[in-house]
Amino acid sequence: MRNKILISLLIVAAFAVGLSVVLLGSKTIQTQNQQTVQPETTEEPFKKPIEGLTSLDPIAVEGSLSKTLIEKIGEERLNQNLKIQKDIFGEVTELTFINEPTENPDGTVTVEVAVKFEKAERPIISQVILIKEEWVWKILSTDLLSP
């Protein structure tokens, strides 16, 4: 009986591995066609760096940003900007992922989020592009989409 169970588990595991391979292959094809990446497998790693921005804590924010972006902003100015942003915008009170992440041909991933700042009357929709740096997803850019 125990062997049967083990065999069944092995079959399930093999099926799962096979399914994963199929899914990964499917993902590649889907990416080329600019289709949606399966959220259940990819959403979590993207959420973390984006949520890291909301703290406005310099260490957390810096840990969320890609080296390219930090270099572009300037490390010193980033810290100054964050302090001022906290004064002017206030805390991020709401962060909502409003669509599913899409992978771009260059390997980066785009996701749109709605952000409500404490001192702003209206929420904004921001397009966030992430890039994988040393196996970790980091923010490559953020751009205001609306209003």
Partner: protein, 718 residues
């Protein structure tokens, strides 16, 4: 060499008959302008000698060359076989090389000399300086160890050889208030009289017999200090009291019979004329009656009676206030006829806005305290055709003096035209003369005629391609000068009928980075009207430019909100409809908030309030209000559109932007777009400046901006 020339001249004369000597133009006479002629202009040794006395053996004063224009104020004197004329401020010259000049050659540049004060940096030294009214020959007359006592502290003697000034001598416990006179040649100082209290505003009567002034007197019964006007009789040294109400800043009429002065009672301004002989006083003007916020609606100070007698210039505040709080309001120079009629605004407080002040200190306590920009201390040219005045920003002052701030001196024609800076300094006083003066000749300059000021349009290139610069929200026409696009802005038109209680100005640049074009700069900084209403200035200024240049199309270069105003016109959103709207050939937008500013779009009230302080229209720069504009197709009458924007700021979830406008909000589909590391302007909210300071580069200052614009300009012109 000179001796040789004189010998030649003498020999030439000997060769002429007496009848021939009288060949010179018979119309040369005292009161005429003459020019030097008949000399070899290629030979610098061939000049006309100007002697101190009408004699060949006298001291030489100057050498004059062909075309030099001078004014004859004395003569003729016939000695040594010559007829000599005295050239004003130069000396005596024989008339063989003089002829009456043409009207066009008579110098229009302001003549004479102007006395003024400069304070030493980080010291209490006071430098009494003098400068030619054309801006040349600035020299120091004297250095005083302390600041002058009071405002407007000195006055010229009518012969222009001495000045009288007030002095707060003595010690704090034992003050010695007095009026002194200084001989500007010998530098000798003589005390004329003691005054009843700390004094200011002396005015020497044109007949030379009296000096009027005001003293601050403590009235024990009323426990207050009042300013009282007195007249010092220079023959008897007696002092008579002229007024018994709070009054100050007396100035004499040209006939020396009356004084004009202002009263500090109440919240309006009143001008009075006191007839000294008849001992009566009449109010001739009240800002309460003519209440005009654009020109004069509050306290009045420093009236100045034109030497011609027809007009009185004075400083007036834009709102009702007591005189003690004068410095907190905009002050302009206005003129009225001597009977009190026909008030006109002569200067705009915008014209001297040297820097943007921040109001940070307590009243009278901080040297960097912000007051409204001021125009004050006006004084007339001897011919009554021009006015010299002070432009003051960022200063503290009290009625006893102790001034700190930016002080610049300007000259403007009495009709409001030809505004021009003269020098840094304060308390300008035009030296009285009975004749027009000419500047000193510095040999061997071949033609020493002062440069003729002009407001005519100058075209350097073959094709007139006029350019209109439209500043942004919270800016002014001078943004372009401060960032090196243009210099020498001259006011060429003032629009008073476009917006209620608002003047719009159009300036022309003397010099610009665009070699082939006449360049104009619009100034709507006074406008508090809506975007649509303010946008009326675009077609009106285009009409003016087309009219004066005879061009059919104009290039527009806009900064920030200037683009929105231009688009309101181009895309037919004005109340007044313009069927053509085809007079813009090229439209270059720098940092345009085409879809608004993200501060406004997000509804960040704190920042919006800060922006509104600098620009009343800031609240309208949002995507919702601009949606109708953005829903229309771009006008196809414009051959070239281009947008450039900055991206020196970065905010989380917003990304790179210019601290005011995001990339997305600056862009318009179909228009070439360029972006580089710059910020929107130097008028960012203070907190943001601190965030990115000191590396921020406003887009108008960025070299890349000029490079892009010049590249497009070259393409268009060619």
């Amino acid at each position: 060499m000179l001796r040789m020339l004189l010998v030649v001249l003498f020999a030439s004369f000997l060769a002429l008959s007496r009848e021939e000597i009288t060949f010179s133009d018979p119309t040369v006479a005292v009161g005429t302008w003459v020019e030097v002629f008949g000399l070899d202009q290629n030979n610098l040794s061939d000049y006309l000698n100007v002697q101190e006395t009408p004699s060949l053996s006298g001291k030489e004063n100057h050498h004059l060359y062909n075309d030099y224009v001078a004014y004859i104020d004395e003569g003729p004197v016939e000695t040594e076989g010559y007829r000599w004329w005295h050239l004003a401020n130069l000396g005596w010259a024989v008339d063989n090389w003089l002829r009456v000049t043409y009207e066009e050659k008579i110098p229009k540049e302001p003549q004479g000399r102007i006395l003024f004060t400069q304070y030493g940096e980080n010291s209490y030294y006071t430098f009494l300086n003098i400068i030619n009214a054309d801006g040349t020959n600035k020299e120091n007359l004297m250095v005083f160890p302390n600041q002058f006592c009071g405002l407007d502290p000195y006055t010229w003697s009518p012969d222009g050889k001495e000045i009288a000034f007030v002095d707060c001598g003595g010690t704090e416990d034992n003050p010695n208030y007095q009026i002194n006179k200084l001989n500007i040649e010998t530098k000798e100082i003589v005390t004329l009289a003691s005054t009843p209290g700390p004094s200011s505003g002396p005015s020497w009567s044109p007949d030379g017999n009296s000096i009027a002034f005001y003293s601050e007197i403590y009235l024990a019964t009323e426990e207050k200090i009042e300013s009282i006007i007195y007249v010092l009789d220079l023959k008897t040294s007696g002092i008579i009291q002229v007024t018994d109400i709070d009054s100050s800043d007396p100035d004499w009429s040209p006939d020396s019979k009356s004084l004009v002065f202002n009263s500090g009672i109440g919240t309006s301004g009143d001008l009075f004329v006191a007839n000294i002989e008849e001992r009566n006083t009449n109010k001739i003007f009240s800002s309460e009656v003519t209440f005009d916020p654009l020109c004069c609606a509050g306290p009045i100070v420093q009236p100045s009676w034109s030497p011609v007698g027809d007009k009185i210039a004075f400083t007036c505040a834009d709102t009702r206030s007591t005189i003690l709080y004068l410095e907190e309001h905009k002050l302009r120079i206005c003129t009225i006829n001597a009977d009190g009629s026909e008030i006109n605004k002569l200067t705009s407080e915008q014209e001297n806005f040297r820097s943007l002040p921040y109001c940070t200190g307590e009243y009278y306590s901080e040297p960097t305290q912000c007051y409204q920009p001021h125009n004050r201390f006006s004084d007339w040219s001897p011919d009554g055709k021009q006015v010299v005045f002070n432009g003051i920003t960022e200063f503290t002052a009290n009625r006893r003096g102790d001034l700190n701030g930016n002080f610049d001196i300007f000259i403007i024609n009495s009709d409001g035209t030809n505004f021009r800076p003269l020098t840094e300094g304060i308390y300008p006083k035009w030296q009285p003369t009975t004749v027009m003066q000419v500047p000193t000749v510095t040999p061997p300059t071949p033609t020493a005629i002062p440069p003729t000021p002009t407001q005519e349009i100058r075209f350097v290139g073959k094709e007139p391609t006029p350019i209109l610069l439209v500043h942004g929200c919270g800016g002014s026409a001078y943004d372009w000068e401060e960032t090196g696009w243009v210099s020498g802005l001259s006011l060429i038109e003032t629009y008073t009928d476009l917006l209620p209680f608002t003047e719009i100005y159009l300036y022309q640049a003397e010099v610009s980075i665009f070699a082939d074009s006449a360049v104009f700069s619009l100034d709507y900084s006074n406008s508090g009207a809506s975007l649509e209403e303010t946008a009326q200035i675009i077609p009106r200024s285009l009409d003016s430019i087309k009219s004066v240049t005879a061009a059919e199309k104009v290039i527009i270069i806009s900064h920030s909100m200037g683009a929105i105003l231009t688009r309101y016109y181009l895309e037919d959103f004005l109340e007044e409809k313009y069927s053509e709207r085809s007079d813009i050939s090229v439209f270059l937008m720098l940092a345009p908030p085409n879809n608004g500013s993200f501060w406004v779009n997000m509804g960040l009230e704190k920042v919006i309030d800060l922006l509104k302080l600098q620009c009343p229209q800031a609240g309208s720069l949002n995507s919702e209000d601009l949606e109708p504009l953005n829903s229309k197709e771009l006008s196809t009458s414009v051959s070239t559109y281009r947008i450039a924007a900055g991206n020196q700021c970065w905010f989380i979830f917003i990304g790179f932007n210019d601290c005011v406008v995001t990339t997305k909000d600056a862009k318009i589909d179909g228009i070439p777009f360029t972006q580089y590391s710059a910020v929107h302007s130097d008028l960012l909210p203070l907190a943001l400046e601190q965030a990115v300071f000191p590396e921020l580069t406003p887009i108008l200052e960025h070299e890349q901006t000029k490079k892009i614009v010049l590249q497009i300009y070259e393409e268009v012109v060619k």
